[in-house]
Symmetry: C3
Subunit: 108 residues, 3 copies
């Protein structure tokens, strides 16, 4: 059996408030990441804990997770691009090593 | 404290149009993967980018992500099984190394 | 370009029936994990397969996935905490190595 062709990439899982979707996807577009998948209507509680009184998210916030698979060299530029955003808003980015099998139908 | 028992597996995250759910889960079933979890109502934009005019997904497509944890030796057969599908439809499979703690209640 | 600061953590993806959300998030809280994100309304089929008659989940169960990023040393205590739960209920925990870029706005 032949091996399926897999690409080693980084998966970015970007969790932000739903109102910031356009900002985040525009940033990905400008970085050259033109494909992503979005999970809508997540709920969440803050990374800094209810008990300490530092909430990153309130439990009622509508959050989204934007998932994109990118080459290694794009991870840092994308994270840098988000830094000014961090000063004003909350969120988190998970970076995971993955392998990707693409199923692409080119449309004419 | 004793260690919890963890199994090293591969996580497959299969993103396809919602209308192809039965095809994808049947393929998993036939490969011997009888358990999976599905995230419904994802939205997405194509891996090949809006700007280049090669859309993998349209923004209005209803996508699903099927998540399954499988032993290493099933990854390639499953990806091979999807190849004919790739010629007709779009989608992507992410493969990630994970460890799994099972919480299984056997029902009689 | 400076490097964005990333923390190496473990991502826990805890899949349980929706009716057990409070139990699972309380367990995380008590372990010191005060932040998490929840994907609601997953569907799933049992890890032990329809064909064998051992269903972990029924296809109609409403499942949730609770996602948390935790330091290595918390993984085992959390999994241990879930063990009594396993004896009564079904579910699964995926553990993945990730790197996390935090975007934290402290609120006064």
């Amino acid at each position: 059996m032949k091996e399926s062709k897999l690409s080693s990439l980084k998966k970015l899982e970007i969790i932000v408030g739903g109102e910031h979707q356009a900002f985040a996807t525009d940033l990905l577009d400008r970085a050259g990441v033109s494909g992503y998948t979005i999970i809508n209507n997540l709920s969440g509680k803050g990374q800094h804990g209810y008990h300490e009184g530092h909430l990153m998210f309130n439990e009622d916030d509508v959050l989204i997770m934007i998932i994109a698979a990118v080459p290694d060299e794009l991870v840092n530029p994308i994270l840098q691009g988000f830094e000014p955003f961090y000063n004003e808003h909350s969120g988190v980015v998970f970076v995971t090593d993955i392998q990707v099998a693409r199923m692409v139908k080119f449309q004419s």
